[in-house]
Every structure is written in structure tokens, then in C-alpha cells.
Amino acid sequence: MMLLIALALGLVAVTGTMVALTQQPARQAVTLSVFGLTLAILFMTVQAPDVALSQLAIGTAVVPLMIMLTIQKVGGSR
């Protein structure tokens, strides 16, 4: 159990770093979606199903969608 939590924490740290270091917003929307998914997995391992439900819907679907639509309008450069 603790090993699962440690693994999930490691995944979250790695994907979070990737989100911050991806400079192109179009690519960053995809990494942000993956980050949302790893966060949802972490929340499940810490016995928080309500929070995981929220995070799954919002972090993998709604926020990356809004970012991609903004890029569509704004014309994402580097």
C-alpha cells in the first residue's frame, strides 16, 4: 500500500515537472491531461474517491480542453 502511494507520488512529481518544462502550450495541454490522470491515481491510493472523481473529470477533460481552445484562438507559439 505504501509502495503504491510512493509510486503514485513519484509519477505525480515527474509529470508535474514535465508540465512546467513543456514550453509549447499545445503540447502542454496533453501533458497537463496526463498530470491530471496521475493526480487522480494518487488520490485513489490515498483513499479519497470523492476527490479523485472531481480531479479526473476536471483535470483530464475540462482544463486541457479550455487550454486547447484558448491556443486555437491565440495561436500558440513557443
Binding site: 477533460a61 480542453l65 481552445l69 491556443i71 491565440v74
Partner: protein, 283 residues
């Protein structure tokens, strides 16, 4: 402040923050410890006199319902702000959808099959918030994302017709107002704002928990309407609105098409499929 100053400031402050945070965190109880006094009391109250199986919902909508009222109104204010900011500018007009390829039949089938399932799951999660993991916030978001399958599997115009902004704005306002109205009813009948004044029912029943199911419903409606409004506003900006050729005199924007140099390419919805040609829908 310019970029260099920003970087220097960060380089100085970040290690200080890291050290202080590390020292502070070492004083916390270790991960997984037994010392949670507030939690024990919250669980005892929720399962005892309030008969709510999902303690998180009980904390959100019963024991700390005023905090959720505040969050509800942050949501309301943010949506109002976003709608105002995403108004079409004077030099933009609704140019209709750009012609593009068709939706793949498999995508369309998947969307049409998943839409009623998603809406039903969303309603289920809202209704059973007091019994199983779920509630107004989660179910509202699931409901909203199910609604948007109309755009992914079909046309943007189908979504715009099925989710007219006026109806959504009214629904969101009703959700926020219902929460306050239930709170005021609690004030009238129980002596304090947001008292749980309805009979609590028996444990694990669908109608247990007093006002928790009602507040769940109000929040669910408000959150679903809010997210559909937000996504529709962004879709409108990205897919439909386009600048006309002549800008207003004195404005500082150029005349060229904003998306000509973008790295995304054509106006495609994000599932990888494209909207169909829709000449008859010119506004």
C-alpha cells in the same frame, strides 16, 4: 519587472522557501499517523445524528455548508466574469463554421451511445452524493462533459441549440439561489443559517441526511450549467468568431487573421474529427 529581475528573484527566494518548507514539514505528524481529532468528531456526527453514509458530503453540505456556499459563489462569480470577458468584440462577427471534413462514423456512434450514459451517470452521482462517493460537484462536472459529446460526435451547432446560453445562465442562477434559499429556510425553521432541518431518515437510504440531497442537487445543477457555459464560451471564441477585415479606427490590433500563423492548423474540434460543412447555419 523584467525577465532577468524575475529570474534572479526566483533563484534567491526558491532555495530559502525550500529550506523553510523542509524544516516546517518535519514538524508535521508523520504520514499516516493516528492523530486526527477533528476527523473523529466529524465522522461521529455524520454517522450518528445526521445519518449520512458519505461523511465527505456531510462535511461539505451539512457541517461546513457555509464554506460550500462561499465556493459556490466563487464559481458563480468566475462564470459571470468569463462570460463578460468572452463577449464578441465589436470587430468580430459570427462567421459560421469553417468547412472541414466529416466526423468519423465510429466517433459519431460512440458519442451518441455515450451521451445518454454520461448524463445518466452524472445524475446518478449527484443523487447519491450522500451515500457513495459523489455529490453535486463531481456529478455536475460529469454531466457537463457528457453534454459536450454533442460537439465531439456531432456539430457545434447541435451543441449550441441543445445548450442555449440563456437557459444555462438561468439554470446556474437557480442553482446558486436554491442553495441560499435552503439556507434561509434553515434559518427560519431551525434558528441558524443552513441548519439541517429536514428529517434525517434512516442510514443508507436515498433520502437520508436531511437537506444534504437538496443541496447536492442545487450544487449539481449550478456546476453543470457553469461548466457547459464556460466550454461553450471558449468553443464560440475558437470555432465560430472571426475578425472582420477592417478593424475599428484607433484600435491597436492588426488586420490579419489571428490564426493564420498558429501552429494548430485548421479549426478542428479536439477529438481529432472535424465539424461538417454547415452553410445553412449562417447567422
Amino acid at each position: 519587472m523584467n525577465r532577468r529581475a524575475r529570474l534572479v528573484l526566483f533563484a534567491v527566494v526558491a532555495p530559502v522557501f525550500a529550506v523553510l518548507f523542509f524544516l516546517a514539514v518535519r514538524g508535521l505528524p508523520s504520514f499516516g499517523s493516528e492523530f486526527h481529532p477533528y476527523a473523529d468528531r466529524a465522522v461521529a456526527v455524520a454517522t450518528g445524528q445526521r445519518a449520512t453514509a458519505n461523511v465527505v458530503s456531510s462535511v461539505n453540505f451539512d457541517q461546513r455548508a457555509v464554506d460550500t456556499l462561499g465556493e459556490e459563489f466563487i464559481l458563480f462569480g468566475s462564470v459571470v466574469g468569463t462570460i463578460v470577458l468572452l463577449r464578441p468584440a465589436p470587430e468580430e462577427r459570427d462567421a459560421g463554421l469553417r468547412p472541414a471534413g466529416g466526423v468519423l462514423p465510429t466517433t459519431r456512434l460512440a458519442g451518441y451511445l455515450l451521451l445518454p450514459v454520461s448524463v445518466l451517470v452524472g445524475l446518478y452521482v449527484i443523487a447519491h452524493g450522500q451515500l457513495s462517493p459523489g455529490g453535486g460537484f463531481q456529478g455536475g462536472v460529469v454531466l457537463a462533459t457528457g453534454w459536450h459529446l454533442l460537439y465531439v460526435a456531432g456539430r457545434y451547432t447541435a451543441l449550441r441549440r441543445a445548450a442555449p446560453p440563456t437557459v444555462l445562465e438561468i439554470a446556474e442562477s437557480i442553482g446558486a439561489a436554491a442553495y441560499t434559499a435552503i439556507g434561509l429556510a434553515g434559518l427560519v425553521m431551525g434558528g441558524a443559517f443552513l441548519t439541517n432541518f429536514l428529517p434525517t431518515g434512516s442510514f443508507n437510504d436515498l433520502l437520508s441526511g436531511g437537506t444534504v440531497p437538496l443541496l447536492n442537487g442545487a450544487v449539481g445543477v449550478a456546476v453543470a450549467a457553469a461548466i457547459v457555459l464556460l466550454l461553450s464560451g471558449f468553443l464560440e471564441q475558437a470555432v465560430v468568431l472571426r475578425r472582420t477585415e477592417e478593424p475599428l479606427a484607433g484600435s491597436s490590433i492588426g488586420t490579419e487573421e489571428p490564426l493564420a500563423g498558429s501552429s494548430i492548423g485548421t479549426e478542428e474540434p479536439l477529438a481529432g474529427s472535424s465539424t461538417t460543412v454547415d452553410d445553412a447555419e449562417q447567422r
